[in-house]
């Protein structure tokens, strides 16, 4: 055998990160989903400029709009986490700092997403 890799490891194709191309693939899937969702989001934000909270509440309380805003929040924060992870991977080279920053990013993204989703549900339930 000319390689240190076992045949099983080779056929699994997971590499040293043990997750294969999962990160790359998730980044792309969320990016594709965000193409229509960002266009919708831009349409909504511009459509709410100069209106009142009544307009915003009524618009976001509509089930379709609440679902789309929820999807936009989930996909964009998932994409954000994957992107920020790459920034840390590229520039932070000590294991302790890397783990610390990745945890801070993960918790911040989850906290932001949970806050968004709670507000969306609250608006829809008002």
């Amino acid at each position: 055998m000319s390689t240190a890799q076992t045949p099983l490891h080779k056929v699994q194709g997971m590499g040293s990160a043990h997750s294969g191309t999962q990160h790359f693939w998730h980044e792309r899937v969320t990016a594709v989903a965000l193409i229509p969702l960002s266009l919708w989001f831009a349409y909504v934000v511009l459509g709410l400029v100069g209106t009142s909270e009544v307009t915003a509440l009524q618009f976001l309380a509509h089930p379709w709009n609440a679902i789309l805003m929820g999807a936009f929040v989930c996909f964009s924060l998932w994409h954000t986490y994957l992107g920020l992870q790459v920034v840390v991977d590229d520039y932070v080279h000590t294991a302790g700092m890397k783990i610390f920053l990745l945890l801070v990013i993960r918790f911040s993204v989850i906290a932001t997403g949970a806050t968004c989703l709670f507000a969306i549900v609250r608006i829809a339930a008002l």
């Binding site: 792309r28 990016a31 594709v32 965000l34 193409i35 960002s38 831009a42 909504v44 511009l46 459509g47 709410l48 400029v49 100069g50 209106t51 009142s52 909270e53 307009t55 915003a56 509440l57 618009f59 976001l60 805003m69 929040v73 964009s76 924060l77 954000t80 992107g83 920020l84 920034v87 993204v109 932001t112 806050t115 968004c116 709670f118 507000a119 969306i120 609250r122 608006i123 008002l126």
Partner: protein, 140 residues
């Protein structure tokens, strides 16, 4: 240290070219800007959360958000986020095209870089001009 035979060699050898030596190609600028706008949009996500919470709080919340967003600094941040989202959107589509194998030709890549920069600035200005001249607010 002194008896390390590699040390004097290492210090006299030329280093491989570094970022500060290269003339910045436009494709390098677009790559850095893609990352920069991505990090900016991560902060924008926190503002999005605050915006949604403010809306859910009714009239006082709406006023609280606008008390901050309608200031010069607030508008500057919102313009920065608008441009960042448009830039990251356009540049992201190019990344997806690259994944499919398109647009790697040097001339094409440089041309597209200029197009993405120019288009993102024009589109961001157009969005703000539309909001400024009362073209927004159509969801009423």
């Amino acid at each position: 240290m002194a008896d390390n035979p590699q040390r004097p060699l290492a210090s006299t050898r030329p280093l491989s070219p570094h970022m500060t030596i290269y003339r910045w190609p436009v494709t390098m600028m677009t790559s850095i800007t893609h990352r920069f706008t991505g990090v900016g949009l991560a902060l924008g996500a926190v503002i999005l959360a605050w915006w949604l919470v403010c809306i859910s709080n009714g009239p006082e919340g709406w006023q609280k958000f606008h008390a901050v967003s309608d200031t010069p600094i607030g508008l500057l941040v919102l313009f920065g986020l608008t441009w960042s989202l448009i830039y990251h959107f356009l540049s992201g589509i190019r990344h997806l095209a690259w994944d499919l194998g398109y647009g790697f030709d040097k001339r094409v890549a440089e041309r597209n870089s200029v197009i993405i920069f120019a288009l993102s600035i024009v589109a961001a200005l157009a969005v703000f001009a539309a909001a400024w001249t009362g073209q927004g607010g159509y969801l009423k």
